[in-house]
Symmetry: C2
Subunit: 335 residues, 2 copies
DNA sequence: ATGAAAGCGCTAACAG
DNA sequence: CTGTTAGCGCTTTCAT
């Protein structure tokens, strides 16, 4: 069943069927009705492949994430998908699982399917792969790590705002020995969080000496707390974590050590994944809205795609972070 | 840049380029090399849309889930995607968010993109929508709720096995007042779990009177525990939950009531989502392997698709559940 | 083994 | 306002 079949049955040309289906306003209402009648009767659905082939636009956006099983991403994927449905796009989702080969195959698949744009949410990426995409002038949007170039939009994260709030919140609760569990060194976003912490501490005259390396996983958080506990120095009364999973690991490990949160130890996370609402106690954390992030990314792609003539100096967007108070922080116990 | 460009530069016909790229064995190795050289130099990627149009196969599988933000699904999506990459397929993922309109648009999008098969993991679906898919003879695979029909594969879940193990494990720990927090009534899978519980209890001569309704959410688990606590009857010493999120809610609420788990109350979940490993204490649960489920679903689709001639009586697969012991159960305290 | 040419289903000039 | 027709980029007969 194809457009010709519809044309034949509605006794019009294929061009008219095409116009009717695409709601071109100039088509005679009566003919249009005739066409739609047949379309509905036969349950005809236009073939997107053919459309894409002739129009040169696939109406597919690529979405590259580092790991769909990382709780940070499902919300983003859902929002992206919601927007896609609203705007008649499809999402081609690939998860690189931190494997360069997978990253490469992601890019290849995107190109083969002729996506109209790609959002890259991997918090780090090989420059070389980009070339393939840039070479084809595929609109791109990055979070945090993108280069400045035409057709490349960047979403910058304002880490400082939220982290300053977190640090000052702890200081106000009379904490002075505030530790930071950092993310992996090779992650630009993790390093940015770390410097934001140091900066925020310095602003209020506190030393940021208690910095321990984590890896943004729950297990990493557990290890980091043990490291902190094992230190010969005075122990921290509060810990700021580079992401929520780390904080959840800390909470879990604290439980095993019978350290009460928040009375013995205050914890603040980063990201505000949904799970943070459901830890015991609910986690105070710096929000980096996944919904907002997805919206910005999608919008950036749409902007580039729908009006390609425009200012292609590579637009910049900023996502502001801010503290969400829940119940994992309290006044510092004894000084 | 298209296949003609390659043909011109390699001084062969487009047919030969096509054959070389598709590794048709009869093509002269020398010509083939010439073609590949040009392909690599120009960074040529075949246009999948055009391929699909002429071959009639899109190499896209649809994957319909009820909510990507439900922790049960990311693992499935990841496994599906892994298999897709291995087998040169693409995934068209849609999340229905329990909205019939979205379900409808999912199906429409699948058809428009001419997917080669659809895996439906929504644990419940409108019969009417199926018609569109079945009408087009799109291979389908369902979990738990599919009808028996040609081209429709079904993955049946053996709830009984795991739930019996769970109940007997609790009984062995001398629990006799074992409660069950059920899932929503309208979910076939939830009802199956409930009957499996009743059956397993009856087998060992225990009454299954302590059944409370939940809704498979964390909040539902919290409410359910309160309901159980508020009951005038003797309270349960162990609770089996219809899914892990419910169990996590129970744990969370128990913490607020200073009920110690497992010493005061044993908890068992169902699903074994990854998170179950990281609750405090780690959750003993009935595993329904998401990886295995995804594998079966993908395999079913591949089987239907790659050899469509075969036994299309609608194949059946079974996924067995079994108990995973962790640390949320203990001997019943006082009788 | 290779090439010429038809055609997958649709859209967009162009003509009328 | 509607119809005719030429492709979009590829695979696949059918000849050679």
């Amino acid at each position: 069943m194809d457009i010709r079949e519809i044309a034949r049955r509605a006794k019009v040309s294929t061009a008219t069927v095409s116009r009717a289906i695409n709601r071109v306003p100039t088509v005679d209402p009566q003919l249009s009705r005739r066409v739609w009648k047949v379309v509905d009767e036969l349950g005809y659905y236009p073939n997107t492949q053919a459309r894409a082939l002739v129009s040169g636009r696939s109406r597919i956006f690529g979405l590259i994430v580092s790991e769909i099983t990382n709780p940070f991403f499902p919300e983003i994927v859902q929002t992206f998908e919601n927007l896609a449905v609203e705007n008649n796009y499809e999402i081609l989702l690939t998860s690189t699982v931190h494997d360069p080969k997978r990253m490469e195959s992601s890019v290849r698949r995107m190109i083969e399917r002729r996506v109209d744009g790609v959002a890259i949410l991997t918090f780090g990426m090989e420059e070389s792969l980009l070339e393939h995409l840039r070479f084809r002038k595929v609109p791109l949007v990055f979070v945090d790590v993108g280069p400045d170039a035409p057709h490349i939009a960047n979403i910058r994260i304002d880490y400082q705002n939220g982290i300053r709030q977190a640090v000052q919140h702890l200081a106000a609760l009379r904490h002075s020995r505030i530790a930071f569990i950092a993310g992996p060194h090779h992650l630009k976003s993790a390093m940015a969080r770390r410097s934001a912490f140091q900066h925020a501490m310095a602003e209020i005259g506190l030393p940021s000496t208690l910095i321990v390396e984590g890896d943004h996983t729950l297990e990493g958080g557990m290890r980091a707390l043990n490291e902190l506990i094992g230190m010969r120095r005075k122990q921290p009364t509060a810990i700021l974590c580079s992401n929520d999973m780390t904080a959840i690991g800390v909470i879990r490990e604290a439980y095993d050590h019978e350290i009460k949160i928040p009375s013995d130890l205050s914890i603040i996370g980063f990201d505000d994944i949904r799970l943070a609402q459901f830890t015991t106690p609910p986690l105070t954390t710096v929000q980096m809205s996944q919904v907002e992030l997805a919206r910005l990314a999608f919008q950036a792609l749409m902007d580039e795609t729908e009006r390609p003539s425009l200012a292609n100096r590579g637009s910049e967007y900023t996502l502001v972070t801010s503290l969400i108070l829940r119940r994992s922080t309290a006044l510092a116990s004894s000084p």
